[in-house]
C-alpha cells in the first residue's frame, strides 16, 4: 500500500552534489522538439517538467520522480524499443512503473518519446486530465496502471513469461522504489522470476534511501540489499543512478530470455538536481507554490550551469 502525504516544502539549504551529468540547456518546458537534445539535456528537461507538474492542483511526488529522472531518461531515450505511433507493437519492450507515484517522471519520459504532447503535461492532476497522480491504463505507453506498491514485479514476471512463451523479442523492465521493497509481494515475485530463469525481466530499484518518514535504514532496514537479491537468485548490478554512462553499461549487460534475471540497484538521491529537495524526506510529495516553484527551478538551473 502507498500512503502518500502532501507537504509544502519550506526553504531548505542547498546541498551540493557532484555528478557526471552533461550540461543542460534552458529550453522552455513546452518545447517538444527532442531530436537534437542529448540524454543529459532530456533529463534536465524532465526535471523541469516534474517541477512544473508539482505546481498542479495537489502537487506531485517530486522527490521520487527526480531520483528516477536519469534512469528513466536513459531507458526511454536509449534503451526501450518502442513505437509511439503503434503503442501496442507486439515486439516492443514493456516498461512497468511499479513505483507509480513517480508518474510525473513517466509522463515526461513518454512525452519526450512522442507518446504525449508536451503541452498535455500542464494538465497533470487537473479535473478530467489523463495524467493522474498514479498512471492510468488508458494512457498510451502505460502497460499497467500502478500506484499500490508491490504489484509491478509480478506483472513483469507474467509479462516476461508470456513474451518467452510467445517468442516475442521484447523485454520487460520494472522500476521499483526502495521503500516498496518492504512489500512482501515483491519477494514472491522475485523468488519466482529467478526460479523460472526469466532473463527477459529486468528489475530496477531506485535506491534513494528515503521513505515518507525518513531513512529506510532507520524505518525498515533493507540492507544488505544486494545480498537479499542475490540470495533470491538474481544477478545484481549496483550503479550510480545519476551516472548516465554507468546506467548505459548496466542496460547493455542484460541476459537472454532464459538467463538469470538482473536487478539494477541504482543508488540515487531523492529530489536529485533541486537543492531545495535533495535528500529531503519532505520532498516526497510537494505542492509547489509559484514562489517555491521559482526558487526550485532557479536552483535546478544553477546546478546544471555549474556542471556545464
Amino acid at each position: 500500500m502507498s500512503t502518500p502525504t502532501t507537504t509544502t516544502a519550506t526553504d531548505h539549504a542547498a546541498m551540493e552534489h557532484a555528478t557526471t551529468e552533461h550540461a543542460a540547456t534552458e529550453r522552455a518546458s513546452s518545447d517538444s522538439a527532442t531530436a537534437e537534445r542529448t540524454t543529459a539535456e532530456q533529463a534536465q528537461l524532465m526535471r523541469e517538467q516534474i517541477l512544473q507538474m508539482g505546481t498542479g492542483p495537489d502537487g506531485t511526488h517530486v522527490g521520487g520522480s527526480l531520483s528516477s529522472a536519469d534512469l528513466l531518461t536513459v531507458l526511454y531515450q536509449e534503451v526501450l524499443r518502442l513505437r509511439p505511433e503503434e503503442p501496442d507493437w507486439p515486439d516492443r519492450d514493456r516498461f512497468i512503473l511499479s513505483k507509480g507515484h513517480a508518474s510525473a517522471a513517466l509522463y515526461a519520459a513518454l512525452s519526450a518519446r512522442g507518446f504525449l504532447p508536451a503541452e498535455e503535461l500542464a494538465e497533470y492532476g487537473t479535473s478530467g486530465s489523463r495524467l493522474a497522480g498514479h498512471p492510468l491504463r488508458r494512457l498510451p505507453g502505460v502497460e499497467f496502471p500502478t500506484g499500490s506498491l508491490g504489484h509491478g514485479l509480478s506483472l513483469g514476471v507474467g509479462t516476461a513469461l508470456a513474451l518467452r512463451r510467445t517468442g516475442r523479442s521484447g523485454r520487460a523492465y520494472v522500476l521499483m522504489g526502495d521503500g516498496e521493497l518492504q512489500e512482501g509481494s515483491v519477494w514472491e515475485a522475485a523468488m519466482s522470476a529467478a526460479h523460472l530463469r526469466l532473463g527477459g525481466l529486468t528489475a530496477i530499484v531506485d535506491r534513494n534511501r528515503l521513505q515518507i518518514t525518513g531513512d529506510t535504514e532507520e524505518r525498515m532496514g533493507l540492507e544488505p540489499l544486494a545480498g537479499k537479491w542475490r540470495s533470491f537468485g538474481w544477478q545484481v548490478l549496483t550503479v550510480d543512478g545519476h551516472d548516465l554512462d554507468a546506467l548505459r553499461a548496466a542496460f547493455a549487460a542484460l541476459p537472454g530470455p532464459t538467463g538469470q534475471p538482473v536487478v539494477i540497484i541504482a543508488d540515487t538521491v531523492k529530489g536529485k538536481g533541486v537543492p531545495l529537495f535533495e535528500n529531503k524526506k519532505k520532498s516526497h510529495s510537494v505542492k509547489l507554490s509559484p514562489n517555491l516553484h521559482r526558487r526550485a527551478l532557479a536552483g535546478l538551473r544553477a546546478r546544471s550551469r555549474r556542471q556545464s
Partner: protein, 321 residues
C-alpha cells in the same frame, strides 16, 4: 445410473481439471497458473508442460503473473483456494486483473464451507460479495460437476467473455442437479422447476440441491415453488429474478455464503430498486465460523437445509396473504 450421472458423480474441481486440460490441448492460449494446489501437476503439467507454471505458494504473485500473461494475449487460469483468491490476493485481483478488464479466469476451489473440517482459514463465505463488488468481473458458481464443465468450456470463449471471471468451485462430490444435457448460458438463470406460489433462488451445489428438495417438500403441502439456479451471480439475470418477484409471493435466496453481499444481497438490491417484495435470505450468518464439521453439517447449522428453506417459503407466503 445413466452415463451422465456416472460421468458427473464427482467434485466440481475434478471435472474442472479434466475440462481445462481438454480445452488447453486445442487452445494454446490456455495457460494453467498453479499455486501448488496439488492435482494440476499430475494431469495438466505432465501433459502440457509448456502451458503450465507453478508460481509457488504465493497468491498475490499468482494474480499479478496472471494479469501479465493475459495482457500478452494468453488465457490464464489462476488456480488457488477461493478464500485466498478473494481475501489474500484481493488487491491484485482488483487492480491488476479487474481494473484492466483482463481475461484472467480466477478459479477458486473450497468455496463456501466445502473445506469442511479444515476450518475458517479455508472457508470462503465472503468471496462472492468481494468478487461481485469488483469491476468487470463475471462471477460464476456452478451447481454441480456437469455445470462446471459447461462453465469451463464457456470460459475459453474470449469473444463472449473478454473480461475476467471468478469461477467458484467446491471440493467434494455433490448431488447432480440435472439428469442430462441442458442449456447453459452465462448470465441466464437456470429454471429448475416452474411454480407460481413462491420462488427459491439458489446458487452453489448444496444450496441448489437443498432448494430442489425443499420444492418437493412444498409440493407435498400443496405449494408450487419455482426454483432458479443462479449459477451466474454477476451479471445477475434481472429478468428472471424480477419475473419471479412479480409472479410469485416472494423470494427465498439460498447460498453457501454470507447472507450479506452475495446472491441474497444482489437479489435484494435488484428487487428493492425495481420491484420491492419480500426477500428472505438464507445463508451463513455474520461471524467467524470456527466450528468443526462437514460442509453439509456446517451449512445445516446455518440453516441451509430443505426443511428450513421450505419453512421460509411458507413464511413468505403467509406474510404476503
Amino acid at each position: 445410473m445413466t452415463d451422465w450421472q456416472e460421468r458427473y458423480a464427482t467434485a466440481t474441481r475434478d471435472v474442472y481439471r479434466a475440462t481445462l486440460l481438454d480445452i488447453a490441448k486445442s487452445d494454446t492460449r490456455v495457460f494453467c497458473v498453479d499455486t501448488d494446489m496439488g492435482g494440476l501437476e499430475d494431469g495438466f503439467e505432465a501433459e502440457l508442460p509448456d502451458q503450465y507454471v507453478n508460481v509457488g505458494i504465493a497468491e498475490a504473485n499468482l494474480m499479478g503473473v496472471s494479469a501479465g500473461l493475459a495482457a500478452e494475449g494468453l488465457l490464464p487460469f489462476a488456480n488457488t483456494i477461493a478464500s485466498f483468491a478473494a481475501t489474500r490476493a484481493c488487491e491484485q485481483v482488483k487492480v491488476d486483473i479487474a481494473g484492466n478488464a483482463l481475461p484472467v479466469r480466477i478459479v477458486g476451489t473450497h468455496g463456501g464451507f466445502s473445506a469442511g473440517h479444515y476450518g475458517p482459514t479455508h472457508h470462503a463465505v465472503e468471496d462472492v460479495a468481494i468478487m461481485r463488488s469488483l469491476p468487470n468481473l463475471t462471477v460464476l458458481v456452478p451447481a454441480d460437476a456437469a455445470e462446471t464443465e459447461y462453465a469451463v468450456r464457456a470460459l475459453a470463449d474470449t469473444e463472449q467473455l473478454p473480461g475476467p471471471v471468478y469461477l467458484r468451485l467446491g471440493r467434494k462430490a455433490t448431488p447432480l442437479v440435472h439428469r442430462g444435457p441442458y442449456t447453459f448460458r452465462i448470465g441466464q438463470a437456470d429454471l429448475l422447476r416452474p411454480g407460481r406460489d413462491v420462488t427459491l433462488v439458489a446458487s452453489g451445489p448444496v444450496p441448489v440441491a437443498e432448494s430442489v428438495a425443499a420444492a418437493e417438500l412444498l409440493a407435498g403441502r400443496g405449494i408450487a415453488a419455482r426454483v432458479l439456479n443462479l449459477h451466474t451471480v454477476k451479471p445477475l439475470d434481472a429478468e428472471a429474478v424480477l419475473s419471479a418477484a412479480r409472479e410469485t409471493a416472494g423470494l427465498v435466496t439460498v447460498e453457501d455464503h454470507l447472507v450479506t453481499g452475495g446472491l441474497g444481497g444482489a437479489v435484494a438490491e435488484l428487487t428493492a430498486a425495481h420491484h420491492p417484495c419480500r426477500v428472505h435470505r438464507i445463508g451463513v450468518p455474520d461471524g467467524f465460523h470456527d466450528q468443526v464439521g462437514t460442509e453439509t453439517e456446517l451449512l445445516a447449522r446455518a440453516g441451509v437445509t430443505a426443511p428450513a428453506i421450505a419453512g421460509a417459503a411458507e413464511e413468505v407466503m403467509r406474510e404476503r396473504n
